[in-house]
């Protein structure tokens, strides 16, 4: 069984946000616009989070691309009253939009704040509608959405390898953000395979995870900057 995970090498990351926009395009994320953005209602399944500490001129600053951590012990699934969010057998924390009742318990429970609520039905001008990704459903008003590790790509890849009568290879399934990353800072693959790139890197000296003390066991690893 696969256990999908991601590694982000902060030393190669340049903070360009290609991942952010690639995700928007891939997953039909609604255009929020200036007014609603000012209320903090922007949706960004993966977001570049700045950490700026210290005082001029001694500043320590970090930029951290933050997708859903797809925790092995996700706090969000435990609070969902309708089982709209759950962890599947491959370790992906999934979200069933049509089951969601919009209670937002999960958005509160998630320590990484990766869950986003749809305050309105997402709107696109009619000229843009045809350019939405046909592989991803559009969310409705009042549901919570989040990063899926582009699981629709996994479904497509499964069908494809079945048709070709072969096993799933690592390069058959990568999320849009990893594909776009110009610095080659993002890696994706099977953490259960001890020889996969992600597993090797996750055991590296520089590897760390966010808020490890919470015991959520995130499947997104970061590699710190510097030697």
């Amino acid at each position: 069984m696969h256990r999908w995970g991601m590694v982000i090498d902060l030393d190669k990351c340049s903070g360009c946000q290609a991942c952010v926009v690639a995700c928007h395009a891939e997953n039909n994320i609604g255009i929020i616009g200036p007014e609603e953005s000012a209320k903090g209602r922007t949706i960004s399944w993966i977001e570049l989070i700045p950490y700026i500490e210290g005082e001029y001129p001694h500043i320590k600053a970090r930029l951290l691309p933050r997708p859903c951590m797809h925790c092995d012990h996700p706090p969000c699934t435990k609070v969902c009253p309708v089982n709209a969010t759950y962890k599947n057998e491959e370790g992906l924390v999934a979200q069933i939009n049509y089951r969601c009742i919009g209670c937002r318990y999960c958005t509160t429970a998630c320590p990484y704040t990766v869950k986003y609520f749809n305050w309105y039905a997402p709107q696109w001008p009619k000229e843009m509608k045809g350019s939405l990704n046909r592989d991803v459903s559009i969310r409705t008003k009042g549901v919570v959405e989040k990063c899926t590790f582009c699981s629709h790509r996994l479904l497509k890849a499964r069908e494809k390898v079945k048709a070709e009568g072969r096993d799933l290879l690592p390069e058959d399934y990568i999320p849009a953000c990893v594909q776009a990353c110009p610095g080659g800072a993002m890696y994706f693959g099977d953490l259960n395979d001890p020889f996969s790139t992600v597993s090797t890197l996750s055991r590296e000296r520089r590897a760390f995870r966010l808020m490890e003390d919470l015991g959520t066991e995130p499947k997104v690893y970061y590699l710190s900057e510097g030697m």
């Binding site: 200036p34 570049l48 700026i52 939405l132 800072a185």
Partner: protein
């Protein structure tokens, strides 16, 4: 030899590149040819070139039922190897921008009222042609001006050819200064007036003098890919980056060290470092003696003795002098010099500052001999296009071409273009006033400092035609709009080069049928030429722009070098053969080349020839010049008041005091971010939404203030404030930022359009309104990048 997928991955070098290359989604063999009809329900990935900036990335556009639904990087394209930047992906929003101009528009009502009448192409072309004929009839052909922005390739040759046949010397490059690369630095030291290649992948120590590498480099994906490799691509050798800049930018955040410096003082710091390198004898002596000119004192043919660079720098730029001017501690200056000289290969890279400040950065590379070396400055070959066929100019054209250029430059090609002098001369009417202005890929009313100067100039020009596909600040003041296709709808070539100096030719092809009644400007020019008749038929003998490309590409075939894009092992093979003097491309005929170029996205020549010094140094001395002799060739313009030796040596030019320092106590530093760079992506919500990631700012213009300064001024986080200079004032949201120097405030460029689409118009503010127009005599661009400002609550 059988190669399986796993071997591919190993060959890919960096694992990231391998993932993208071996990606099961986009095997090159699955690439469809674009010209196949679009069957319903069929999904295709069509290779083309991104048009969102000058980067020249190869993209694959996913097309379903005639709709472009996604954009991914083309894994075969050597510029980006399957990856993209945020702008590239947002190209979809450029195509499906709901506020695009859909037909030719004729102005009704007054200029700038924004009242337009849609007209047919027949009528629009009639309007242009009759006014052009009128100009030629009256012998006023030189009064046609073309203001051209940032684009490359045969389209530029076509414009120049058109003006040559028409009889106007006035093609004016409006590639605005700070957005460019340090071109003048390269010209003064190596005699080449273009962009060099920086072999960033192989640099060990990168010293950046205010270069916004990770935000607004001309080819963003190339530099970001290089950055990943620079940091972790060479096991055990992590490249070091030092950022010298007045503000903690994204590049500064990612750098190993950020050195805050007074705005505009980067050049003097470079000279201080040069001083220490020379003083401690750390420069490369064999390079200095074999390949440079003017390092030591010299005597010219008249027996006159001249000051050497070494002597000049040793006497003028002591670290304590430099430290006083820059605010950088003396020990830092000394340390940087030692680090730079001893960590080879090292590279100094600047921004397009004033020419002699650029030169100050360039000479650091001369001192360490990082010219034409691995990890140094490389001079790429040009893409070998076939030259346009000769034609005979008629008498009207000849007369017109003999006129002086309106911006004071000379001739068509070998000039420094001076858009500001153009605007000023339009106002003064000297040497003459223009009768017609064409705007192609440029928006001076937004993207040039002191846009008001251009608005005033525009008011003096009776006939303005814009070719923009989007309504923008400048098009708003046009009389006629002939909307271009957007990049995803048209044919175009895109010649550029890689960081390692390899020339690349990408091909842009339509991925969808044009959405609206627009026409590619290349095709429009050719149609106008047909309508004008006469010599235009021999000067521009093609029917459409695709024919121009096919014509130019014959040169590629005849050059007998390079190959179409291929997988990496194929490329290695090509390179190996070519080194041995063989050439075995994947194509046998020009037709095959044309077909393969379309399938794979382009052609390249994966070889860099080191040591061809006549290509590297095109200065009068055929050497790297510490003393800019080449300047004398250009010195017809009033260059420097004093004509002594120091004015030809890299030196620091003290900025003119602009306004009362007590009244305007702060410096303003204008910067750019990765997502929003200019006009052409103004109306793309995915980009405006990610405008300022380090402060999580979206959709608005903010001003970064040091928290201590803000406290003194009584400004709190999130207040709306006025930022005022002697030239104007704008409103912005105050953000307290520890990365701001106490006496410098920072405003991002990008928003504040007076006209445009629903996500662009009237959002944010344009800091260029705060700048003046005191011009540098060499570049004709404004000097003052950092005006003094005051800030108060709105």
């Amino acid at each position: 030899m059988k190669i399986n997928r796993r071997d591919f991955l190993k060959m890919g070098g960096g694992a990231g590149a391998a993932v993208a290359l071996g990606g099961g989604f986009w095997k090159w063999s699955q690439f469809p040819v674009a010209e196949k009809p679009n069957a319903p329900g069929v999904e295709k990935w069509i290779p083309t070139i991104c048009g969102q900036c000058m980067g020249g990335c190869g993209i694959l556009v996913r097309v379903i039922d005639g709709w472009a639904v996604n954009i991914a990087g083309n894994p075969l394209h050597p510029v980006n190897r399957g990856t993209l930047c945020p702008k590239g992906i947002a190209g979809l929003q450029g195509l499906y921008d709901p506020d695009r101009i859909r037909t030719p528009l004729k102005r009704i009502g007054k200029r700038g009222e924004g009242q337009w009448q849609p007209i047919s192409w027949v009528e629009a072309l009639q309007m242009v042609t009759s006014s052009l004929k009128e100009l030629r009839k009256n012998g006023e052909s030189y009064q046609l001006m073309v203001l051209g922005g940032k684009y490359r390739g045969l389209m530029r040759s076509l414009w120049e050819r058109f003006l040559e046949a028409f009889g106007s010397p006035n093609y004016i490059d409006n590639q605005f200064q700070w957005e460019g690369t340090p071109t003048e630095g390269l010209f003064l030291t190596q005699g080449i007036y273009s962009t060099p290649a920086y072999d960033l992948e192989n640099v060990q120590y990168l010293l950046s003098f205010g270069s916004e590498l990770l935000e607004s480099y001309w080819s963003p994906v190339q530099v970001l890919r290089a950055y990943g490799y620079f940091r972790r691509g060479k096991p055990g050798q992590r490249g070091k980056l030092v950022q010298i800049e007045p503000r903690l930018s994204i590049t500064g955040i990612k750098a190993d060290e950020w050195i805050p410096i007074q705005p505009g003082a980067e050049g003097i710091l470079a000279l201080g470092i040069a001083h220490m390198i020379i003083k401690e004898g750390l420069y490369k002596k064999d390079f200095a003696s074999n390949h440079t000119f003017g390092f030591e004192g010299w005597t010219d043919e008249n027996g006159k003795e001249h000051l050497g660079f070494k002597e000049f720098i040793l006497s003028e730029y002591e670290p304590n002098v430099v430290s006083k001017k820059t605010g950088v501690p003396v020990d830092t200056v000394i340390r940087l010099a030692r680090e730079f000289a001893t960590n080879q290969p090292s590279l100094a890279i600047g921004y397009r500052d004033r020419p002699f400040h650029q030169m100050a950065v360039s000479v650091l590379n001369g001192l360490t001999g990082s010219i034409d070396t691995t990890g140094g400055i490389l001079i790429p070959r040009n893409v070998p296009y076939q030259a346009f066929p000769p034609f005979k100019k008629d008498t009207i054209a000849q007369k017109g071409l003999d006129k002086e250029r309106i911006d004071g430059g000379k001739g068509l090609r070998r000039v420094i273009h001076q858009p500001y002098l153009f605007a000023q001369n339009v106002l003064s009417g000297r040497p003459y006033k223009p009768k017609a202005l064409f705007l192609y890929y440029t928006n001076p009313l937004f993207s040039n400092p002191k846009p008001d100067l251009f608005s005033k100039a525009f008011a003096e020009i009776p006939f303005i035609v814009s070719f923009s596909p989007y309504m923008d600040d400048s098009t708003h003041f046009a009389d006629l709009v002939l909307p271009d296709h957007t990049p995803l709808e048209r044919w175009q070539d895109d010649p550029l080069f890689l960081n390692n100096g390899f020339p690349v030719l990408g091909i842009r092809q339509p991925v969808v049928e044009p959405l609206y009644q627009t026409k590619a400007t290349g095709d429009v020019l050719l149609t106008i030429a047909k309508l004008l008749g006469g010599e235009f038929r021999t000067a521009l003998p093609w029917n459409d722009f695709k024919e121009v490309m096919a014509y130019g590409f014959k040169g590629i075939f005849e050059a007998k070098r390079g190959d179409v894009f291929g997988l990496q092992f194929e490329e290695a093979w090509t390179r190996l053969l070519q080194r041995g003097g063989w050439w075995a491309p994947s194509y046998k005929t020009t037709e095959e080349l044309w077909k393969l170029i379309q399938e794979r996205g382009g052609w390249w020549d994966p070889l860099y020839d080191f040591g061809e010094w006549e290509r590297i140094f095109q200065t009068p001395s055929k050497k790297f010049e510490f003393y800019a002799q080449g300047l004398k060739r250009l010195a017809s313009s009033p260059l420097s008041k004093s004509n002594g030796d120091p004015s030809f040596l890299p030196h620091w030019e003290e900025p003119k005091k602009m306004s009362d320092e007590k009244l305007y106590p702060l410096h303003l530093h204008i910067f750019k971010t990765m997502a929003v760079t200019g006009s052409r992506n103004a109306n793309q919500p995915w980009l405006s939404e990610n405008f300022g990631p380090h402060l999580l700012e979206r959709w608005i213009t903010w001003v970064e203030i040091n928290p201590h300064t803000a406290k003194e001024l009584g400004i709190s986080e999130g207040d709306w404030v006025w930022v005022e200079s002697t030239f104007g004032k704008i409103q912005a949201k105050a953000r307290l930022y520890q990365g701001a120097m106490p006496d410098v405030v920072n405003i991002p460029f990008g928003l504040g359009h007076a006209s445009g689409g629903r996500w662009a118009k009237d959002l944010g503010a344009n800091p260029y309104h705060l700048l003046g127009d005191d011009l540098d005599p060499l570049t004709g661009n404004p000097i003052q990048r950092s005006p003094r400002v005051k800030i108060y609550k709105a």
